[in-house]
Amino acid sequence: MTAPHSEPDFGSLHGSVRRTGAMALRYIYILRSSWPRILELAYWPMMQMVLWGFISKFLLTNSTWVAQAAGVLIAAVLMWDVLFRGQLGFSVSFLEEMWSRNLPNLFVTPLRPHEFIVALIAMSMVRTLIGVLPAAGLAIVFYHFSIFDLGLPLIAFFFNLMMLGWSMGLIITALILRNGLGAESLAWMAMFILAPPCPGCFIPSVPCPTGCRPSRWHCRRAMFSRACARSCSVARCAST
């Protein structure tokens, strides 16, 4: 006597959630089984934190601008890493499917493209947290600067940055899908295209060439980064 056969659930929300969860679980298993992948996620944000933290400490005693806004560079580095890792986490999960030539196998299943996107977004969140949380901890230990002093606005900043990272990730993965692995390096370099016209994360707008300033004025991310840095100062003052 055979076991009753359960029909695959193609159209319902429950089936969609199960497929999305299965994809996310797949990526978590891949990550969990490979310590180099986890190390690689945390390595670069921590190196950035060490570099910019010590630069910040040096400038604190040699620059009145930094002295007025202690922690601005460290907060900027952390927020930039949230954005960059958000985009990279999305793209690299997709690229792993490309490298293993698993895309045809995935899409002969009932998995829908939008379910795949949601799973990539979930993994982007996990990868970003693995990458950025150790760097934030390092900032607390080495520089006595806690990004968490921001409080609830930090959650809004985080999600805003992640959403922009996901948008870039979607565009990059679409380009890679269309043009093949020759476009793979876009995943690592595309976010830096945004950095020059929107450098509000590290420097104010004053040194920018005049021609760049209108694009920067329209770049809400620059204002948003400065807003984040300002609120870091509020939290820091409140804690001392």
Binding site: A70, F107, M163, G169, L170, A174, L181, R220, F224, A227
Partner: protein, 47 residues
Amino acid sequence: MFGGQVRLDLMAWSFGLNLIYLAGGGLFFLHTFRIARREGLLLHAGE
């Protein structure tokens, strides 16, 4: 760092713009995926 305040208006602007970017990116990805499926690019992915 200098003003010591959170600008909620800028936050709302950022969120609105990001929703637009996310929707645009999603539509672009789905459109490209449809083309890839039609032209058989999924089978040759990874080469």
